[in-house]
């Protein structure tokens, strides 16, 4: 057992850094670091750069465009990208649909969609949750009825992240209403430009537009857009959720946030001294740093143990729980660190082209916004309560 990075891994980190320095426009990195709203082009610019290097889909099988990286390499890559201020790679096509098509899709579907995902020609959204089916996803009611060469789809999806930019949606639909919930679901690829598809924004509590409702009214979907077998969609959905777990704990995000927190705490004054010298604040920072140190090792240990081509099992739920708690704690501390200046909120400041003096210390205006926005991470992706149920049932046999 060796906890140190090998010389090859250290060299890999340097290689990643050099690539990012070359390929990530500084203006875009600044945009990301200052919390400004990203446009569709911002994501696509970065993803095209990654694809040019062959690094857009690290976890795909090599024969489909993957990199063949070890878990440690994937971990290093994620950490460096976040630290440098790269936009977050949009997961839906790359980390979710791609692996499902590779494993369960037809040759025609793979040939058609995988290259378009890599080339950023399609932007995929995830049509899973419904107003009545959140944690109980299997109870979903969006209906797909076979009509000749098409399925006719009716229903409503919600929490569709970045659906406003998407032109395609992979959708869980009910094709057999008489079967047990999990056994009547199919996995359908829906063109969002089809008649009957309507996307409506959902504004979050801090004012952001990230998620949407998608209304489906008599949407005709060609039968060739069914992935795998009818009524086997739940299997593919479960596979998709467990496929890519390397980044589930968000270690890269937390490390960057912690570094940022230390910098802010050094520059903020409390009784004439840096806030980092206040015993209470120093204790808060130390506790979360200790938790993060342990979790990073836990994360690497779990994903390394899974080995080539295999995925970690129920233990990855531990990573989701602890990882989100640490990230949320860091957003709380960043907000706390700026004191009274956590209150000012100027929505225009997050648009490109806003040039006025910030209110308070640099970066203060986004701290509260981030804190409130990040309350979502313990809820989405399988709430932390559901993750605890998974551990209880599948690991502890309770």
């Amino acid at each position: 057992m060796d906890m140190n990075l090998t010389p090859e891994e250290r060299a890999f980190r340097e290689e990643v850094r050099a690539f990012i320095k070359d390929a990530l426009p500084p203006a875009l990195a600044n945009k990301v670091k200052s919390g400004k709203h990203l446009k569709k082009e911002d994501y696509v610019t970065w993803q095209n750069a990654l694809n040019g290097r062959g690094w857009l889909a690290p976890h795909w099988p090599v024969e489909h465009g993957g990199t063949g990286w070890t878990p440690v390499q994937k971990h290093i890559f994620e950490e460096e990208c976040v630290a440098a201020g790269a936009p977050r790679v949009v997961a839906f096509g790359l980390s979710m649909l791609g692996p499902v098509l590779i494993k369960y899709g037809s040759e025609a579907q793979k040939a058609k969609y995988l290259p378009r995902i890599l080339a950023n020609e399609d932007w995929w959204a995830q049509g899973y949750s419904e107003p009545g089916s959140g944690s109980d996803l299997a109870s979903l009611q969006t209906r797909a009825v076979r009509d000749g060469d098409h399925y006719v789809v009716n229903g409503q999806k919600t929490w569709t992240t970045l659906g406003q930019h998407a032109n395609m949606m992979f959708c869980l639909v009910r094709t057999d209403p008489n079967a047990k919930f999990q056994e009547g679901i199919s996995f359908l690829l829906i063109d969002m430009t089809s008649p009957g598809v309507e996307v409506r924004p959902i504004i979050l509590l801090e004012g952001e537009h990230e998620v949407n409702e998608v209304w489906l009214t008599d949407v005709r979907v060609p039968v060739e857009n069914l992935v795998g077998e009818e009524n086997k969609g739940w299997t593919y959905a479960k596979y998709l959720l467990t496929y890519e777990r390397t980044g589930i704990a968000g270690v890269g995000f937390s490390k960057t946030a912690l570094a940022n927190l230390k910098r802010v705490a050094r520059t903020q004054k409390n009784n004439g001294r840096p806030l980092s010298e206040d015993p209470l604040f120093a204790a808060r920072m130390a506790k979360v740093e200790i938790d993060l140190m342990a979790m990073e090792v836990f994360n690497l240990r779990l994903v390394s143990a899974a080995g080539e081509g295999k995925v970690p099992g129920a233990e990855s739920s531990y990573l989701k729980i602890k990882g989100t708690q640490i990230r949320q704690e860091l957003t709380d501390l960043l907000r706390r660190a700026v004191g009274p200046y956590a209150m000012p909120f100027v929505p225009e400041a997050f648009e490109e082209g806003y040039n006025e003096e910030p209110i308070g210390p640099e970066g203060a205006m986004k701290m509260s916004k981030n804190y409130f926005n990040m309350r979502k991470i313990s809820i989405y992706g399988g709430s932390n309560e559901i993750q605890r149920n998974i551990i209880s049932k599948h690991l502890l046999d309770l």
């Binding site: 959902i202 801090e206 409390n270 209470l280 604040f281 808060r284 009274p340 309350r375 313990s378």
Partner: protein
């Protein structure tokens, strides 16, 4: 000990709560918060006519209350409605220095405040001062019979629209010294005063205020020059009682929304409130809220006690509110799931206000340290 509200206070509570319930629902709140200046002047007058400003001030200035319990009753109602009208800035932080140590001429102005005419703001905190009450770098340089004020004031609640500002400035000593601070009442639109107004993330308004050579005379001084810290402390103590009561009102609504959701939302074929794990967390939330209710009784009841007892109790109260506020804000959202993350659902707005209360007049850690220091002094 008597835990019952007097008949008059009960009437005040009923009046305020009925008004908020019937005429200040969340859609009204959103509308008034979006108005220029961050509140509705017509609504302010209506609330003044109900006596809600007068309740915050004593009889000798034209009010009919002014004690800790009066402040608590009014602000608990305001917290339930997430009311954005400038009660804290005008009725507590702005008015208290005048009530405590103002001249007769200054006290006479409070009649107009009570009527909903004149608005005030408390321009004390500074960009580098964080929560420290004695941190005043703004200087009051002697000039003729008066002074010349220069400095910067930070996150002045409702400072952008206030008619008059209560400003602290240092006439002697070093930046963080307890001695040497003076308070002045100045025109917000006077020469040398510039304001940059902005919204706050919880739906309120505040301002950065710059004072560049503001000329003030002896008539503008509030109380004794160089001795204002005691007045500032007492003012802030009253503000803490106000904020804590506001937090309690917001917590009660957050709790009710969450409890109702647990009883109605179904997943996996049953109400989510039927899951014991969530029941226990709901109980924990209720327990912390009851602790705050008790802490508020303690804090509000000792506003008129001697300085050390008062300061220690309000430090305890604000620390308690900070801890409980975080738990209620975070848990109420988490127990709801995704729906509470939306702008459209009211809870998110309560969570934002609760969280921001911990950034006003000292946060959880500041008051813990203050409590520790005061406990040493009391020993």
């Amino acid at each position: 000990m008597d835990f019952n509200l007097s008949e008059e206070r009960q009437m005040l509570a009923d009046t305020a709560n009925r008004f908020i319930r019937d005429r200040y629902d969340i859609s009204v709140r959103h509308k008034t918060a979006a108005m220029e200046g961050g509140y509705d002047p017509a609504m302010w007058t209506t609330l003044a006519d109900l006596g809600l400003i007068g309740a915050l001030l004593p009889a000798d200035v034209g009010g009919f209350g002014g004690l800790g319990e009066d402040i608590a009753v009014v602000f608990e109602a305001l917290g339930r409605g997430l009311v954005v009208e400038p009660f804290l800035a005008t009725g507590v932080l702005g008015a208290s220095p005048i009530v405590i140590s103002g001249s007769d001429a200054q006290k006479a102005l409070l009649e107009d405040v009570i009527a909903g005419g004149l608005t005030l703001a408390f321009a004390h905190g500074e960009p580098e001062g964080r929560y420290d009450l004695s941190y005043v770098a703004t200087r009051a340089e002697p000039q003729g019979d008066g002074w010349n004020l220069s400095g910067r004031k930070a996150v002045v609640i409702n400072g952008d629209t206030a008619d008059k500002l209560v400003v602290s400035a240092r006439s002697s000593g070093e930046t963080a010294d307890a001695e040497g601070i003076s308070l002045f009442l100045i025109d917000a639109k006077g020469a040398g005063v510039s304001r940059r107004g902005y919204g706050t993330i919880d739906g309120g308004r505040a301002a950065e205020i710059a004072l560049d050579g503001v000329a003030v005379g002896k008539d503008d001084l509030i109380g004794t020059p160089g001795q204002a810290l005691a007045v500032i402390e007492e003012t802030v103590a009253r503000g803490i009682v106000a904020l804590s009561a506001e937090a309690l009102g917001a917590m009660d609504v957050s709790r009710d929304l969450t409890l109702d959701y647990l009883k109605t939302r179904k997943q996996f074929g049953r109400t989510i409130g039927s899951f014991q794990a969530l029941q226990h967390r709901m109980v924990d939330m209720c327990l912390e809220i009851e602790q705050v209710r008790a802490g508020l009784l303690l804090g509000a009841g000792t506003l008129e006690a001697d300085r050390l007892e008062r300061e220690r109790n309000v430090a305890a109260l604000k620390n308690l509110v900070g801890r409980a506020g975080r738990l209620v804000a975070e848990e109420s959202i988490q127990l709801h799931g995704g729906i509470a993350m939306t702008w459209e659902y009211a809870l998110g707005h309560y969570a934002k206000r609760l969280t921001m209360i911990d950034h006003q007049l000292g946060d959880t850690d500041y008051h813990l340290e203050r409590f520790i220091a005061l406990s040493r002094d009391a020993a």
